[in-house]
């Protein structure tokens, strides 16, 4: 049990890092209403760019910034594939993701993973210093959520929300929906890459496969967060922070499952099952529950009829 409790701060750190990515997923999935699969690629891009910059003697802040910018570029590519070439967004994301695998490998100089020596290189967050990292990551998360909240309150931000909510109306109201979709995808992937960069610093290495399944973890956090907190308040800031809370819940569940001794090979499947459940249950509630109610009522009606 002690071992389990001792592992929680580390899990919390990871949860905070992934929640930044989850907020990126939230922007595409919930705000823009687009399922963007670039995430798996751009997450690794962020991590690898970060480590490469630091390996060349760059400051950790510069590394994070460049990681973020690399993510913006990834989003730009997916956005242009979608808006200019008319490729459906899911496919556009998959194409970018696939291309990024090669690009990431090239950025990493042909190596599948790269390490930084956290004892010698100054880093912002590190698993060697979990408690400090915890604070820093919490501040970064709140700052990101706060900035996004302000952004989506501006004229530009509001027009992005409108684009996701009703593209017909947006165009009729003179909103450049294509530009907004590209911009939204860029911001989203920028955050995802920033999260990847933070993870690379935290764990001290970047791996070409570190983004595999990232989209599912992000969706997990988004759907858990919205399912639990959507009734609390429709406020946008609450919705953003609830994604962070969703990520936290996911990691606590994850850690518990690991502690109980579930085969770690099954963890990705677990994530997929959680997403499927959280996305599927509201649908079933809408379709099956009323049908069962009607069925019961009809049964009673039939009974009454037979009595007469």
């Amino acid at each position: 049990m002690l071992e389990y409790l001792a592992s929680l701060p580390g899990a919390l750190c990871l949860a905070l890092i992934w929640s930044i990515m989850a907020i990126g997923v939230f922007i595409t999935f919930k705000v823009l209403n687009v399922a963007d699969l670039t995430v798996d690629g751009s997450f690794a891009t962020g991590g690898i760019v970060c480590v490469v910059v630091m390996a060349h003697g760059g400051h950790f802040a510069l590394a994070l910034l460049l990681g973020f910018l690399a993510g913006l570029l990834c989003g730009l590519v997916t956005g242009l594939l979608y808006t200019c070439l008319g490729i459906p967004p899911i496919l556009a994301g998959i194409l970018t993701q696939l291309a990024l695998w090669s690009i990431n490998l090239k950025i990493a100089g042909g190596k599948a993973n790269l390490a930084i020596n956290a004892r010698l290189t100054p880093v912002l967050v590190s698993q060697l210093n979990i408690y400090n990292s915890l604070w820093i990551l919490a501040i970064i998360l709140v700052a990101v959520a706060g900035l996004l909240y302000l952004f989506f309150g501006t004229e530009l931000g509001a027009s992005i929300r409108a684009t996701g909510n009703n593209p017909h109306m947006s165009k009729a109201q003179g909103i450049n929906t294509k530009f907004n979709i590209v911009l939204g995808l860029m911001i989203s992937n920028g955050l995802v890459a920033l999260s990847g960069a933070l993870l690379a610093q935290y764990q001290g290495f970047a791996d070409i496969n570190m983004g595999r399944g990232a989209i599912v973890i992000g969706l997990c956090a988004v759907v858990i967060g919205t399912a639990i907190f959507s009734k609390v308040s429709p406020n946008f800031l609450v919705r953003l922070l609830s994604v962070g809370a969703g990520s936290l819940i996911y990691y606590i569940v994850y850690q518990t499952v690991v502690f109980i001794g579930l085969d770690t090979d099954l963890l990705k499947m677990l994530a997929a099952v959680i997403v499927a459940l959280f996305l599927g249950i509201p649908y079933l509630q809408k379709t099956i529950v009323p049908r069962v109610k009607k069925w019961k009522k009809n049964k009673e009606l039939l009974k009454e009829g037979s009595n007469v």
């Binding site: 409108a162 017909h168 109306m169 947006s170 109201q173 003179g174 909103i175």
Partner: protein
């Protein structure tokens, strides 16, 4: 003035499901015309409106605003010149956003959406409340409610308002639109605007210097300056001629009869108050006769009936039905002869 010239649109060209949606439409509306459009299903009414607003691109033809072609502008750039209300009440508003947010979005139609301004301004709020009051639906008390919670009729009325309000454009935009829609030599328009602008500005500057050098109190100076600027602004706004052309695509078809009547009444009021040029598609022949000063009937992508002014006032439903049947019969016999 808006004119459609030789508009043609074919869906799925070169396939077995090829349909000529708009065959050859020529239509000219003077400013302030309120025209009602009727016709059977598939007559091409909605397609025509979508072509005007830019949702579809016509295969051939021009859309002229004041003799200037706008058919190459993309939909979102045409938006400031066309206010639209759709048949589906869900389509004209963003359901997850509040009434205030929706109005604020519409208020900046055709203007740059900045990263450095909040989307909802407190100074606009009063104007919105005043406008919402004219609808008489109590929406002014529900500014911060999500539009998704409103009824279909309320949403259509809100969309109508959104289609017709617009923030006063900047001087720069007035110049751009004046030149863009000037009927004649663009250089003349530019010179005309620049000359008037310069004169007004010189006058304002002179007045400003006068006020500054006078020994009035600070408040007085401020008031005088404001007055002087308003005078200058007014002189520039003379050139602001763009009023949206209202495009209504059966906007009451999804509403119950009572609500539909109310929304139509509001529509008529707004159109009259702002003397807007309007194209309204309707399925209801009574409404088509009652509203507007001109009526056209479409059939198979052509305008088959066009009734104007006094003649339209005397029109009865029976006559209209007769014309409607004749139009569809003509088409039937045509296709029978052609064997398709």
């Amino acid at each position: 003035m808006i004119e459609l010239k030789g508009i043609r649109k074919v869906f799925n060209p070169g396939t077995s499901s090829e349909t000529v949606a708009i065959n050859n439409v020529n239509l000219k509306l003077e400013s302030g015309d309120f025209i009602t459009v009727i016709g059977g299903n598939g007559a091409g009414k909605s397609t025509l409106l979508n072509i005007v607003s830019g949702s579809y691109e016509a295969d051939e033809g021009l859309i002229l605003l004041n003799n200037n072609d706008v058919s190459r502008l993309p939909e979102f750039k045409r938006a400031p010149y066309f206010g639209r209300v759709f048949q589906d009440p869900m389509m004209g508003t963003a359901g997850d956003m509040t009434v205030l947010e929706n109005l604020s979005l519409a208020f900046r139609r055709g203007m740059r959406r900045s990263l450095f301004r909040w989307s909802c301004h407190t100074q606009d709020k009063e104007f919105f409340i005043e406008q919402l009051k004219t609808l008489g639906l109590g929406l002014e008390n529900r500014l911060n409610e999500k539009v998704g919670l409103l009824s279909g009729g309320q949403r259509q009325a809100l969309t109508l308002l959104m289609a017709t309000i617009r923030r006063e454009p900047s001087h720069h935009m007035i110049r751009r639109d004046y030149v863009r829609f000037y009927d004649g030599d663009k250089k003349l328009a530019k010179d005309e605007f620049d000359k008037a602008f310069k004169e007004a500005k010189e006058e304002f500057k002179k007045r400003k210097a006068e006020i500054k050098s006078s020994n009035a109190s600070k408040e007085e100076k401020k008031a005088q300056l404001k007055e002087a600027f308003e005078k200058f602004d007014k002189k520039v706004r003379v050139f602001d001629l763009t009023k949206p052309v209202l495009l209504l695509d059966e906007h009451t078809a999804a509403l119950d009869p009572k609500t539909a009547a109310k929304v139509l009444e509001i529509t008529d009021e707004i159109v009259k108050k702002n003397s807007l040029t309007t194209i309204m598609i309707t399925h209801n022949m009574k409404d088509a006769i009652k509203y507007g000063n001109r009526l056209i009937m479409m059939s198979k992508g052509n305008i088959v009936v066009d009734i104007n002014g006094e003649e339209k006032k005397k029109l009865t439903i029976e006559q209209l039905l007769e014309m409607f049947n004749q139009a569809s019969n003509d088409m039937l016999s045509d296709s029978a002869i052609l064997g398709d």
